[in-house]
Symmetry: C2
Subunit: 461 residues, 2 copies
């Protein structure tokens, strides 16, 4: 039996109630974005006969097809009544885009409660209100009311996103698209009138296209339900959670933002630990960790870290971070040092970090990794693209060495003014995530190491 949330992500047909063509209206952006959906789209608005090339229907009843999912972008006061029409049409799934409910004060709270009661009576499941809804790269479904010109959409990938905040959802999408990272699905559940954090976790735990989940939350719908769902998901795929609204100032901001209680941060941290989720401490940390755990799939990552660089200072920074993250950096074994001594000029440093200096060539990265990496659990590779001896072709060699040794590798390449972007994209395609500073490359490996500890593997440390 398909999961209860299945039709939110895989409807055969979608109606958009509140479709329009007025610029800057949500109903316009959503209709545009639905042009990418592999299914039938039925705009509903009594004032239009056609919209963006679609035939437009005066009411939901007038749509000449079964409707699996209704996206409602009406002003808040009109939603309650529309629910009857939706029920009469036999629709069982609604994404409620409209804002002006619980987040907007006492009247909104009451209105939201009435809609919640009605939907439950009618057997209708609701995502929202005050939500972007769903983006699914598998079938092009996109209920987000932000244009693709303004917010880039990531291509297909294995990471899925669950977010309580619409803003965080779109900014994550933009950041991932910029980095060339694909995603599977994204869902912003907003005010959580019905479908909540735990429901989304449950659905994505079962989704075969989701390899890892990144989650932003300010508060929890139901603590026990969340913990159980997080545990289930984290037992089968990596879960990265960022809890915002941690202490006094953040919690106050949460209560203005989502009109929910941020709760005791210590309890959240305990729940994340118990669930086996990885806690990210902020925006960059969330993206860094999510990229690492979504792209790299290793059964068990130990703590012995190798660093290979062509710039000594960056390796020192990486070593500082490695210590902070609980890695060790054993010396390169003597037998390997001897081999490297034959292959490298004398001024290359054959300790750990291995420093190829500004003269290191593409093939030297391969040699260093091929010889040394099998003696370690993971590596951070730092490439300063300012050196003329390093080219984009180094990326293939680094990936080859990493795959031969079956060890996870993160790369540090500064996001520069063009030259370095190609190298970053190539590495990502080869399964190696790239970070703009040595500290972040190390921190991402630490996240990967942390999530692999949920797998019952023997630690070879």
């Amino acid at each position: 039996m398909p999961h209860d949330l299945h039709d939110f992500f895989y409807p055969r047909t979608v109606a958009l109630i509140g479709a329009t063509d007025k610029p800057s209206k949500p109903g316009t952006a959503i209709l545009e974005n639905l042009s990418h959906f592999n299914g039938a789209v039925y705009p509903v608005n009594p004032k239009h006969a056609t919209l963006l090339g679609h035939r437009c229907y005066p009411s939901i009843q007038a749509v000449p097809d079964q409707v699996d999912l209704a996206i409602i972008a009406l002003p808040a006061p009109l939603v309650e009544q529309e629910l009857d029409a939706v029920r009469d049409k036999g629709i069982r799934r609604i994404i409620l885009i409209s804002s002006g409910f619980a987040e907007a004060g006492a009247d909104g709270v009451l209105m939201q409660k009435r809609i919640a009661d009605k939907a439950m009576r009618y057997g209708i499941r609701v995502i929202g209100p005050n939500a972007l809804g769903v983006y699914n790269t598998d079938n092009g479904l996109d209920s987000f009311f932000v244009s693709r010109e303004r917010v880039s959409r990531p291509s297909q990938g294995r990471l899925s996103i669950i977010s309580q905040s619409g803003a965080i959802t779109v900014i994550l999408m933009e950041a991932l698209a910029r980095d060339g990272m694909g995603i599977a699905k994204a869902v912003n559940y907003g005010n959580r009138l019905d479908v909540d954090d735990a429901d989304c976790l449950d659905y994505l735990a079962e989704d075969p296209l989701t390899g890892a989940v990144a989650m932003y939350m300010e508060s929890v719908g139901d603590g026990r339900k969340f913990l159980a769902a997080a545990k289930r998901l984290a037992s089968v795929k990596p879960l990265v959670v960022w809890k915002a609204g941690k202490r006094e100032l953040g919690a106050a901001a949460v209560s203005s933002h989502t009109a929910t209680l941020a709760g005791n941060y210590g309890l959240y941290q305990a729940a994340f630990r118990q669930a086996g989720a990885f806690e990210a401490y902020g925006f960059d940390h969330m993206i860094d960790a999510a990229k690492a755990v979504a792209i790299m799939d290793y059964p068990c990552v130990g703590k012995r870290l190798l660093i290979v660089t062509n710039g000594g200072g960056m390796a020192v920074a990486a070593a500082d971070q490695a210590e902070q993250e609980g890695f060790t950096m054993p010396r390169v074994p003597d037998a390997v040092r001897e081999k490297l001594g034959l292959a490298f000029p004398p001024f290359f440093v054959k300790n750990n970090p291995i420093d190829l200096t500004g003269s290191g060539r593409n093939e030297d990265y391969y040699t260093a990794l091929a010889e040394a990496l099998p003696h370690y659990d993971a590596a951070v590779v730092i490439m300063l693209m300012g050196a003329t001896t390093v080219t984009e072709a180094a990326t293939d060699m680094i990936a080859r060495a990493c795959h031969e040794a079956k060890r996870p590798v993160t790369c540090c390449i500064l996001q520069g003014l063009g030259y370095t972007r190609d190298a970053m994209a190539s590495l990502l395609k080869l399964g190696i995530p790239v970070y703009p500073s040595p500290e972040r490359a190390v921190r991402a490996l630490a996240a990967l190491r942390s999530v692999t500890h949920n797998k019952n593997c023997e630690q070879n440390e």
Copy 2:
């Protein structure tokens, strides 16, 4: 009397000993880069009659002019003897690019010691060896052996860079150029045979074009001398210091990298505090803090922080970070709330954070800041450019409000796929630094706040 280091940055004439045209040789890149220098350039190499359109001289003696600065890019073993020719020519300043000295083992240590002794006897000051040397945007002097195609050069600005690591120097330059940040001067002193960290601090303390200094160090030349110089500089302009090689793993990496002792990190921290320098904990932190203190000049920044956003989640993240950095977030005063209530639709949140929601327009940012900012010490402004109601023109309004209130403001704009880059560059030009995450925008303001505390100002907190 000009500072002893003046001629390193402002020579009238420069000779490049070891100039060549072989691709990927340091002498080639440096000669190319010297084409931007506003002074006479004399390449020296007995094998060439001309190089890159310059007449080339067979020896330094053959140069028909007084030479203020010699850049030496010869193989290490040839340097010692060349020193005699340099002395005979009356040259008193050398940038020694060549590597293969103290960083390359025992023989190199001895060779470096002999050169140091000779240079001192001859009265020649030396930057290097194993160094990039000097980049000065005021006269185009550029002794770096990395091409401009590979590493972008920042334009003119008020930030200067001192770095023990060449790699960190170029990657800082690339990152600043990418962000549209200008610099005044950069110096990488490498093995510190003569000119050291403290000398560079002393020179830049007096340089009128340097408004702030960002410094990367792994070890110190002379602890007392450094502390005195850092104190002098920090008393007249902001100093941001990143000490890498903090604990066991980092210190081991330092000893491989610069063959120096990383020393006790606690002592460094105490020295930074005593000097009034701001300690950055890593690469991103260094850049973030340096941008803030170089662009924004305020006598005294208190701890009452205002956050204005068009996306609630990002403001929660900023509030979390604000708490961590010791800011307070007082509520918006009632009188201001009333005014905002008249100007804004009811669903805008008039607490602190002020949340303009996805409907916030450019002028709403101005209104929020114009009314509220005078009641605070600083603000973080978060702009999600995914909202169609916000355009690049918002930047002018934000800057106007910030200048009218005479309060420092940092912005958070995600670095996206194009649309946001223009807005970032405009803000920077208007004196408002931009950061890619809310946490980093808050952290940068905290750095500014910290350096203003060196100025004997009354804290209005």
